[in-house]
Every structure is written in structure tokens, then in C-alpha cells.
Amino acid sequence: MTDLVLKAEKINKYFYDPVKFHALKDIDISIQKGEFVSIMGKSGCGKSTLLYVLSTMDTQYEGNLYINNRLLKGLHQDELSKIRNQNIGFVFQFHYLLPEFTVLENVMLPAKKLGLKSEAEIKHDALEKLSLLGIEDQAYKISSRISGGQKQRVAIARSIINNPKIIMCDEPTGNLDSKNAQTVFDLFKKLTHEQNVSVLVVTHDHDFAKATDRIIEMEDGYVIKS
């Protein structure tokens, strides 16, 4: 129990627009510390929906969600923001960097929000994360001026700046060529093994999923194999 980074009990979610739709049905999953887990399933099976519920951003669900053994039910949005800031890193399919900021600033922002370290320390950390991903030479470029593969790596660097317990990714390799996809995969592998970070990836990529520690398969809102 204490090793669980994330635990979901009987998660149910409905969409009401345009018609009532039962999107997630009695989902029970848990993720261990340092585990590399992928969620697979056909389009529309609810895997992205599940990811957003697990990410704490979507609060319209029934059931219990624990992060770091803390029940999140009933917490205020501001409190959830803090939990996300400290414990969860995000990587999205479309990398989502702030286009007017430099690469370095993008990586530094979540740490600045957390506000535990000085500016100089944060900068040092950010450069370290960027070099871990092999893009420290891009640090002072405006983030809209770098390539897609580089952007994705910046997004990963940003997701780990606060040393989160878990990284959640929505199709992190969906837009990348196989070489870049492999780099990203190796990186996650390294993070899970060396730094004991859990990684949860929603993906369509079978080869990617197969190489992870565990595959959670979904169909029609149910988890059919975990």
C-alpha cells in the first residue's frame, strides 16, 4: 500500500453532452513506485478520459482517487493545483510549450510556481534536466523556434523539473518519428529505473507499449486487462 503512487477505486464517469454517456465504468487501477505503465485501447475507449481523471484536472467523477495515499475527493481546485505542481508531471501529444518563452523559461516555470528554490537553483536544475535530454544547447531559444522532437523533449524536461512522483503522458510519441520516439522511450525507462519515478503513458503504439513494465488495456470504458 505504501509503495502505491496512484490508486483509483471504482472510478465512474459520465458525459452529459449531447446525451448521457457512461465513459468510465468501475475502474480500479494502482501504480507502484518506479513502475512504467502504458494504457492501450481503441479510440473512444476512454483512456484519455481516464488519464485526465487520474491527473486531477477532471474532477467530475465518482469513486476514490489517491495520489501518494492521499484521497483527493472534495479538495479545492487550488489545493489540486498544488498537488499537480508538486507530484505530477505532464507530457501531451502536442507538446504545449508557452510559445513566447525560451526553452529554459518553459522548463523553469513549474519550479518557480512551487517556489521552494531560488531562481539560480531552479535555473541550474532546469539546465541539468535539459542536458539529461540532450537539448541543453537549445536552452536560450524561443520555444516556438525549435523542432517538434525537441519540443517534446522540452516538455519532458518540464514535467520532471519538480521531481514528481508520477509522469502522465498522452500519446507522447504520437507526433514523433521512430528515432525520436525511441529517445523518449529510453528516457522514461531511465527515469523509472534510476530515479524511481512512475510513468503512465496513454498510447496507440504497440511496440512502445510492449516494452513497458505493464499494459493496462481498455475497452468501452472498462479495464479489461491490467
Binding site: Q77, S81, F92, Y96, L98, K112, K113
Partner: protein, 419 residues
């Protein structure tokens, strides 16, 4: 630290959209600048117009009112004390023209600590004679140096000076219209005749122009002694006493007090010039209404631009929220932007407003009414600048709050899923 990051994001947003930010700021600049110019200019004009009246009108004017006796003789008869007396066509009582005990009253008033100054006047109905022409008019005998000090008479003397009169025994300062009618100039002699038949020659030592044609065409000033001489009266013959108070606002109370204390008629400046206060109030109202309208327009500009910015920044907002920024943080990011726009715009507006006011202040403005004023009057009261800044910040705050609040309520899941 956290505030610093919010400030940094806000700054980056503004700087990366220089053109939009500048245009939004200029909206505020325009509003505040116009407010400053309008208010300074309008209140300057108001002050000048009020000055026309207030400077030369005594705050309390003591005089002898011509009235019927309050107690008719019949009422004194005991045999009619229970009767209801009806008297038709009552006429005013004949009273002496001078104020009884004028000099003791003046001495008493001079010692009152609310009083800034007291000047005596002697008014006389006269005919001005120049050759065969006779013109009806009024001569006012004054203590010219005091009048100049208290009621700014010097500002209306266009030729000669108040000192000239003070130093000339039988001198006169003639109304400019009067001088024109009689075709006389400085140094000429004018014959004065009273209804009682006294004749006297006086020397023109100055000309004044008040801007009111009726006065300029009939009135003139001499020393008190000269007028007393014309009227064949002794030196305690004083028909009016003018009082200037330290505080204009208590003029009404003072007038009532003086009337009661000395048993004279006294009128205060506000009762005598009620229409002026109304005019000033309405002009101020128009000024403020126009200025506020301008600022509201500027506020809508900010509202619009922030709304657009937030629409463009949906993805950024989603990602900020996903990475741990709270709704409040997002709201503050946009509020900071609104306030930066507002403050920069306001400061620039104050500077522009000030410089345009200086230009107006130095623009030539000549008017018959005010011979001493050569440029437009502008009121450089710092309070307008304070009001301008406060209002600008208030407007931008309100204009920024609604879009910022909307940004804080954006659901990141909607944006992230939508792609």
C-alpha cells in the same frame, strides 16, 4: 517568488504583443490626457469667471436698505392695540444715506479674527460734464490702496494706476466706456455735478475696464475725501462697508451676525450672486461627465484586448493549469497585464495632459472682460492628477477583472482534449 513568476508571465505576454499592448495603453493615455486637459482648462476658466465676481465682490456688504418702517405709528397707540389695522400704500421711510456709526463699526470689524479686511465706501449719484455733455453716473469714494489689496481693483485699471489716485487729492479713475463717451484721456479735467448742485473739477489719473459695459459706462472711483467733498459731507459719512473674510464659506453666517449686531443691512456674496455657483456647478458636472465617458471608452478598449488575448492564450492557460498554476494565479496573470497597461497609459496620459495644459496656459487669450489676462487660464491643481491616476487604475482593474476571471475558470481538460 510566486508573485515574481506571475509578473514574469504577464510581462512576457505584454512584450510579445507590443503593438496590442501599446494600443491598449494609448486608449488609457487618451482618456486620462483628455481628462487632465479638460479638467485643468475648465476649472481654470471657472476659477477665472468666479474670480471676476468673487475678487471684486465683498464677501459681506453692509449698507442702508431703503424700507418702510416695520412699526407704523398707529400701532403705537394704545387705543388701537386690540384692533386689526389696515394701512394702504405704505411708502418707504426717509432715512439718512450714511451708515450710522460707520467708523466704530469698522474698527470693531477689523478686530474680528474671521475678517481679512474692511473697506469703507461712499457712493454718490452724479453727472459727469464734458463740454456740453452731461452723463448720469455713480462715483464711489474708496480707500484705493485697500481696494486694490482686497478686491483686486488694480487688475482692472488699464491706464494709470491706483497709486496715482492715492497721491492725487482730486483725482478720479474713470470707467473706460465713460472716458470714450466724453472723449477724455489721462490728465484731462472732468466736471462733476451733484443733484444738489455742487460742482467740482477732478483730474483723470486712471481708466478702468471691468468688462461689464453698464459699469464701465457709468462708474468711477475717487478717494473717499473727494466724494465726501462732492457731497458736502463730513469725513464720517460712509454709505457702504465692504468686508473680505478669511473663509468665504461662512459669509452667510457672518452677514446675519453683523446685521443683528450693528442693526444694519448686510448681504453675503452667495445670496448676492447665487447664479454663479449654479453655473460653476454645471460646468464642473459637464467636465466630469465627459472625462468619465472617455475613461469608460478606454476601459472597454482594455476589456476587448484582454478578451482577445485570453482567447489566443487558451492553450497557455490550459498548460499553466496542468503544470500546477491555480485559477487564481491565471487570473492574477491577466490582472497584472491589465494594471500594467492601465498604469503605463495613465502615467503617459498625465505627462501628455500636463504638457498640453502648459501649451494652453501659454496660448494668447485676450478678452475685454479681463484686461490683465493675456493667456488662457489653466488650473494646475495636483488633485486632478491624483483623480486621473486613481480612476485609470480603477477602470483598468474593472475592465481587466471580467476577462481575467473568465480565464481563471477555463477548464484545462476541455482545451487539452479538444486538440
Amino acid at each position: 517568488m510566486r508573485n515574481a513568476v506571475i509578473f514574469q508571465i504577464a510581462k512576457t505576454h505584454l512584450v510579445s504583443r507590443k503593438k496590442q499592448s501599446i494600443i491598449a495603453s494609448l486608449g488609457v493615455t487618451f482618456g486620462i490626457g483628455t481628462f487632465i486637459i479638460l479638467v485643468s482648462f475648465m476649472t481654470g476658466l471657472n476659477k477665472m469667471l468666479d474670480g471676476l465676481v468673487i475678487d471684486r465682490t465683498p464677501h459681506v456688504h453692509i449698507y442702508n436698505q431703503i424700507l418702510p418702517s416695520e412699526q407704523q405709528p398707529i400701532e403705537g397707540l394704545s387705543s388701537f392695540s386690540n384692533a386689526f389695522n389696515v394701512i394702504n400704500s405704505i411708502k418707504p421711510r426717509r432715512i439718512q444715506a450714511r451708515i450710522h456709526n460707520a467708523i466704530p463699526i469698522m474698527n470693531e470689524l477689523k478686530n474680528n479674527k474671521e475678517v481679512l479686511g474692511v473697506t469703507p465706501q461712499v457712493k454718490a449719484q452724479v453727472f459727469y460734464k464734458s463740454g456740453s455733455i452731461e452723463i448720469n453716473g455713480i462715483i464711489i469714494g474708496v480707500d484705493i490702496i485697500k481696494e486694490e489689496r482686497l478686491f483686486n481693483l488694480g487688475a482692472y485699471i488699464i491706464e494709470g494706476s491706483a497709486e496715482n489716485l492715492a497721491h492725487t487729492e482730486n483725482g478720479i479713475i474713470l470707467g473706460s466706456g465713460l472716458a470714450q463717451k466724453m472723449s477724455v484721456k489721462l490728465g484731462d479735467l472732468v466736471q462733476i455735478t451733484t443733484p444738489l448742485g455742487t460742482n467740482m473739477a477732478v483730474k483723470i489719473v486712471g481708466l478702468f475696464q471691468s468688462g461689464l459695459a453698464d459699469i464701465d459706462n457709468s462708474q468711477s472711483y475717487t478717494n473717499i475725501k473727494t466724494t465726501q467733498k462732492i457731497l458736502n459731507q463730513s469725513n464720517n459719512f460712509i454709505t457702504d462697508i465692504n468686508i473680505k473674510l478669511k473663509n468665504l464659506e461662512i459669509s452667510k453666517e457672518m452677514a446675519e451676525l453683523i446685521a443683528k449686531q450693528f442693526n444694519v443691512s448686510a448681504i453675503d456674496i452667495k445670496s448676492a450672486n447665487a447664479q454663479f455657483e449654479t453655473g460653476t456647478k454645471i460646468r464642473n458636472m459637464i467636465t466630469y461627465a465627459v472625462s468619465i465617458a472617455l475613461l469608460i471608452v478606454a476601459g472597454f478598449g482594455i476589456y476587448n484586448i484582454l478578451n482577445m488575448l485570453i482567447y489566443e492564450k487558451m492553450n497557455d492557460i490550459a498548460i499553466l493549469k496542468a503544470t500546477g498554476f491555480s485559477g487564481k494565479d491565471v487570473r492574477n496573470i491577466f490582472m497584472v497585464q491589465a494594471l500594467i497597461i492601465g498604469i503605463l497609459g495613465a502615467i503617459l496620459g498625465l505627462i501628455i495632459g500636463y504638457f498640453v495644459s502648459v501649451i494652453i496656459d501659454n496660448s494668447p487669450f485676450e478678452t475685454q472682460a479681463l484686461p490683465t489676462i493675456k493667456t488662457f487660464p489653466v488650473n494646475f491643481d495636483y488633485i486632478f492628477y491624483v483623480i486621473g491616476v486613481v480612476f485609470a487604475i480603477l477602470t483598468t482593474f474593472l475592465a481587466g477583472y471580467m476577462p481575467a476571471k473568465r480565464a481563471s475558470n477555463i477548464d484545462p481538460v476541455d482545451i487539452l482534449r479538444g486538440q
